[in-house]
Subunit: 207 residues, 2 copies
DNA sequence: ACCTGAACACCGTTCAAGT
DNA sequence: ACCTGAACACCGTTCAAGT
């Protein structure tokens, strides 16, 4: 065998830890949490079953690292999307729509991110994902589109929570029998209309 | 060995299926989904490892039955609590508080109930739990405390979703760093104040 | 320091066999 | 019809041993 990717390639890898995380992300997406196994991951990455234990204390620690990647990916998506408009209300709406879409695109990853089992691993990344949301609420308050009476973290928390609940119920199929438009955009518009006003803006021209 | 409980007691049980579900509920609460195993369940119930397969197609089907029990229990709790007052707004508040409290008391069960994995088993029970909520929203609309313009199922869905999101974030510890009162009651009051008015009623005298 | 080989206890599921 | 016994492939984790 030739040396693998990273250069030094002593036994098998130069960067096994990174390969494990990437492989784990794919394996999780393929098989779900229940189908996820360290044996198969080791097989896929081409390494012995014991090798991952040099880099992660156990299965939970590895899945915690995957969940953390999830938060980083979500943060990046939210950042990109919310920068497409300067209107604070549209930014908040963007957050909700992207949040639901992210969960639809990565259901197994999303399912892991809020599991108490991995909290110690994901805590920091979760807080980092939450921070920009608070900023945008603060901006909306300063512009006068949200009441300044309530602390921004409290409003942000509620917007996050309701987006989260809508997402879970949507993934769970809870809206199918209700005969309601259940696109991410429609869910958010309808849910947040009491806060953000009833008429969503049409196609926003990028900056 | 003497005959067990139910009477006929041919080999071991009269009602193995019921024993399995009850044992599974306890095992789930003890060990969580990840720690839950059919081998240990069979051991606890005092039956061979193959026996459960006469009553459930597989592990998922058994956990689906447990999740269904969860919905039935939640429905009972909601019903009891919401009957303690006749005021529609207090009834809705009751729903939110009970919902969060149920999840705090049964975190592993709650975690299973909204997993897509068991949806086919839980679908009907979930809809049944959701129905009274729609009724109460309808009543609140007729009394004029909620706008009649929006269909009741849509409002109910949103209240459920936001309660669900608050619950998950709360269980996940997401409110600890924010320095906010995070009792179930405070979470619901703050979250729903825009819909249900700002001043929650004090102790309601029962019927 | 980083990885392999081999092993252990445990798990989901199956199936022939018992009553 | 309902259950047992025995088995299979698989999994999480450990540990002595290799380079």
């Amino acid at each position: 065998m030739e040396q693998t990717s990273a250069g030094r390639g002593r036994y098998h890898h130069g960067a096994l830890k990174e390969s494990l995380i990437e492989g784990a992300c794919r394996l999780l997406a393929d098989k779900g949490v229940t189908g996820f196994s360290l044996h198969e991951l080791a097989r896929r990455v081409g390494v012995s079953v014991a090798a991952p234990y040099r880099h992660f204390e156990n299965r939970d620690a590895l899945l915690g690292a995957v969940a953390t990647r999830g938060y980083e990916q979500l943060l990046r998506i939210l950042g990109e999307s919310m920068n497409e408009t300067a209107d604070p209300v549209d930014q908040l709406r963007c957050f909700g729509v992207c949040y639901i879409q992210f969960a639809i695109d990565n259901p197994e990853l999303f399912g892991i991110m809020f599991n108490d089992r991995y909290r110690s691993e994901t805590e920091a990344a979760q807080r980092a994902s939450f921070a920009p949301m608070i900023d945008f609420v603060g901006q909306a308050q300063r512009v006068g589109v949200l009441t300044p009476g309530v602390p921004a973290p409290e409003i942000a928390r509620f917007l996050w929570a309701s987006a989260h609940g809508l997402t879970v119920l949507h993934l769970n199929g809870g809206f199918k029998a209700l005969g309601i438009d259940d696109t991410p955009r429609a869910l958010i518009d309808s849910a947040w209309s009491a806060f953000l006003g009833d008429q969503p803006r049409e196609d926003v021209a990028p900056g």
